[in-house]
């Protein structure tokens, strides 16, 4: 049986196309899927924040101070270099997509506590090339500072500005170093870890513990009788930029 040059080339081309198509399909099938809301582990840590209660306490900074002391967060005044774990954001800036021209007086222009949202679908985890940041089964978006190479992809990916890069050695900017917790070093990204080191000891996060107004409530979303679930059932809450599909675990009572 003879085969013409024309039909041979045609068959070869079609085969190559089929092989390439199969490889592409395989690659798509192996793409990591966003982890579900950790229902399998029985624990999904979350925070419910009541900004009104927080505002009643006035210029209180106890949660900020407790967090910064516990985690050796440097105080850098330069906005380009500052390191943030938990901080105050203007209500309208914290919720830019609220789409109302008439926000309530109680919150309009007022500071709201913001921190890492420990998203169920964290964009920072998706982009990290070294798996220095990943999602734990209890919902915490964890960081391994040993593994961070300082590429700052996560800083760019996080829509909440919850990640900070250490442009210089942070130690000179730490007033009093807590030896129980490491500092970070130049060239590493850092953020709130929801006090996983305290949770391991059965303690609540430092900010929650320090709040005199009980404006921050911590608990397990999987447990239907937990304090956070009770609050979410009884009060109307919103999440920051939820329309992005990140599924944050920090809820705000409005």
């Amino acid at each position: 049986m003879s085969i013409s040059r024309r039909s041979f080339l045609g068959a070869a081309g079609l085969s190559a196309l089929a092989l390439a198509g199969k490889a592409a399909l395989n690659a798509r099938a192996q793409e990591p899927k966003p982890e579900p809301a950790s229902a399998d582990s029985g624990t999904r840590w979350a925070l419910v924040i009541d900004p009104r209660k927080c505002l009643e306490a006035g210029d209180c900074t106890k949660c900020l101070d407790a967090c910064h002391r516990a985690h050796n967060v440097p105080a850098i005044n330069d906005r380009a270099h500052e390191v943030k774990w938990i901080w105050k954001e203007r209500f309208e800036d914290a919720f830019p997509s609220l789409q109302t021209d008439y926000p309530p007086d109680a919150l309009h222009d007022k500071p709201v506590m913001v921190l890492c949202n420990h998203c169920d679908n964290p964009p920072c985890v998706r982009v990290c090339p070294t798996q220095a940041t990943w999602k734990r089964h209890d919902g915490i978006v964890m960081m391994d500072w040993h593994r961070c190479i300082g590429c700052r992809y996560c800083v760019a990916a996080c829509p909440y500005g919850s990640r900070s890069f250490n442009w210089s050695d942070p130690r000179p900017s730490i007033a009093r170093v807590n030896p129980e917790f490491p500092t970070r070093t130049k060239g590493v990204v850092e953020k709130c870890t929801l006090c996983e080191e305290r949770l391991a000891k059965g303690e609540r996060p430092a900010c929650v513990e320090a709040c005199p107004a009980k404006a921050l409530v911590f608990g397990n979303l999987v447990d239907p009788d937990s304090e956070v679930r009770l609050l979410l059932r009884s009060r109307f809450t919103i999440r920051r930029k939820a329309e992005l599909g990140t599924r944050p675990a920090i809820y705000y009572i409005v």
């Binding site: 050796n72 990943w134 734990r136 964890m142 391994d144 500072w145 040993h146 170093v177 807590n178 030896p179 129980e180 917790f181 490491p182 500092t183 970070r184 070093t185 590493v188 996983e196 391991a200």
Partner: protein, 131 residues
Amino acid sequence: MHDRHVILLVLVLFLVLITTPIWYARAAGTTARGPEPKLPELEKACVMPVEYMRTSHMDLLMTWRDQVVRQNLRTWTSPGGKAYTISLTGTCLRCHASKADFCDRCHTYAGVTPYCWDCHVDPAPLHRSRP
């Protein structure tokens, strides 16, 4: 033999050069003896046998690091069955109270600069500076 002084000069130069390591060590205050890390007075046994710790403590520390950070496992059981809380500053440095007198002595001798202390805090100087 007109160049006797030249030969002597070169000979002296040669001797000085070849004995440089000795002079250098003298000037730097190092000795031919090995490093002498200061061992804890109260505790006699480390988490693993001395021979293992001497050669492979860094491997153990890496295992500890990965267990705590990546798997959230904070207790480690030694082959002898004793449980330890995994913590560099809390467990290691509780016995080896002085990083300068223990870690640094060998590391300086061996010329290695581990970057543990870029982030982890040596509590000793903090305690000393406190009133």
